[in-house]
């Protein structure tokens, strides 16, 4: 007989096992919660506890998605919303990086602009959307601008704050090595702020999605925001709820994307 050393675990192995089983348990409970929710939803719709005309039900959602798929419009709506979100997110990143850099370089400019940035940041951006439509017409441009407007001001403020939180002694170090303000920016301020830039990015991608949906509510013929508004106008609440569920999935995928980006950068840096 073989010695039964498989049964004897070191404390480290026990720890690893415990860790794994904990994680498995959490994942299971997460899916379990989702399953319970869907099951309850379906059952209460089927038994007439809720009116499925207003509250839809999982199987009606699937039917509705199937119908949209058959019309070949589903990938188009999802694709347009995704495209608009990613474009406005990238533009937000670019614009806020450029502007916050400019503000860092010019103390005077930042002092002058500060109250305006704070004001624009706290302004509800949905109030601007009707203006954008009048100025830019309906279409993808307006929607991307709406997406940008929601995220960009907060993002500039976060980037700028991150730039200013860099240890001033590190800036002195660059100066003692004969570096200019430009060297301070590129050797210390920018690389030192990358963790904050990435965490701001995580927030921004969600905000861009919010802006895009606001834009689509008002000025679109395609996209999930359009489907929601259209569905509610023709009282096709299955379509509204299906689109909302799709939005949930998109939001989660975008979050996972930024998270893996952050993870990658952390690994890369240390």
């Amino acid at each position: 007989m073989k010695p039964q050393n498989k049964q004897i675990l070191t404390i480290q192995e026990q720890y690893l096992r415990q860790h794994k089983s904990h994680h498995r348990q959490i994942s299971f409970l997460r899916f379990f919660l989702l399953g319970i929710f869907l099951l309850l939803w379906e059952v209460s719709a089927d038994l007439g506890w809720i009116d499925s005309f207003f509250f839809s039900s999982p199987h009606r959602v699937i039917l509705c998605l199937g119908e949209l798929w058959a019309e070949r419009s589903l990938p188009l709506h999802i694709g347009i919303t995704l495209l608009e979100t990613i474009l406005s997110f990238l533009l937000v990143f670019l614009v806020s990086l450029l502007l916050s850099t400019l503000l860092w370089f010019s103390r005077q400019l930042s002092e002058v602009l500060e109250p305006y940035l704070v004001l624009l940041n706290s302004l509800p951006k949905s109030a601007l959307a009707p203006l954008f439509i009048v100025w830019l017409g309906t279409g993808i441009n307006t929607i991307i601008i709406a997406g940008i407007s929601v995220a960009v001001f907060g993002s500039i403020i976060s980037f700028y704050t991150a730039f200013h939180q860099v240890d001033p002694e590190k800036e002195i170090l660059i100066r003692t090595l004969g570096g200019s303000r430009r060297d301070i920016f590129f050797k210390v301020v920018l690389p030192g702020s990358i963790p904050t830039l990435l965490s701001t990015t995580k927030v921004n991608i969600g905000l861009s999605l919010v802006g895009v949906i606001i834009g689509e509510f008002l000025a679109a013929r395609q996209g999930l925001g359009y489907l929601i508004i259209y569905g509610s106008q023709v009282f096709q609440l299955d379509m509204v709820i299906s689109s909302i569920l799709l939005l949930c999935i998109i939001a989660m995928l975008l979050y996972l994307l930024t998270q893996s980006l952050e993870h990658y950068s952390k690994k890369h840096r240390s």
Partner: protein, 257 residues
Amino acid sequence: MGALIELKNIGYSYHNLAGETGAIKDVSFQVEEGEFVALVGPSGCGKSTLLSIIAGLLAPETGTIVVNNPDGSLHYPRIGYMLQHDHLFEWRTIYQNVTLGPEIHHSLTKERIGYVKQLLSDYGLESFQNKRPSELSGGMKQRAALIRTLALDPQLLLLDEPFSALDYQTRLMVSADICRLIRKAGKTMIIVTHDLSEAISLADKVYVLSARPATIKAVLPIHLTLPDESLLAARNAPEFPYYFKQLWEELTDETTK
């Protein structure tokens, strides 16, 4: 040997809305080439401000700095500055950290790289050059910071309480070690410290500064008979307690005034 740098009646004050605070008043002294000078004084007396002025980071409000280069040229001496913390950047490897100066000056030539690599191997950091700063001990980080300072081949080294972030035991070893390396490299050094034993054990001459606004209150040339070759030899020298007492009296006088 002539004076490498000569400060004449340097004065500086800080300004804010509440008024003017004099930091330095009428400070004059000179540093010979190859000399190790320590500046001690009560805390907050403007020692760091004085170093910043010598480094050219701040312009003095009054007074002049005269430069006497050994070769007769008029350029300001190349200055290396070591701050309180090592400030090695975690997003760079040790090699990328120590070559930061030449990188900024766009002077990362073959000779310069050779020089830096030589320093890395002399200081026992060769096998750590691709590591991140967090993987090094406190003493090794200070050595890396010294190499970063030396990489630009400065004539005058300014040290602003460079070891105060280290724990006591490491500090004793590292300060003696770093200064031995600087002496071996044939540099001139000005060190600011509030640790009297550190000043006595490292410097050739100690200047005592008064409370703010700082002026030079006393000069104490140090001559130690070293009992052996060890890093802590200076602290075991027979003259050590005498110097310590003298500095102590000068300073207590200043803080109780």
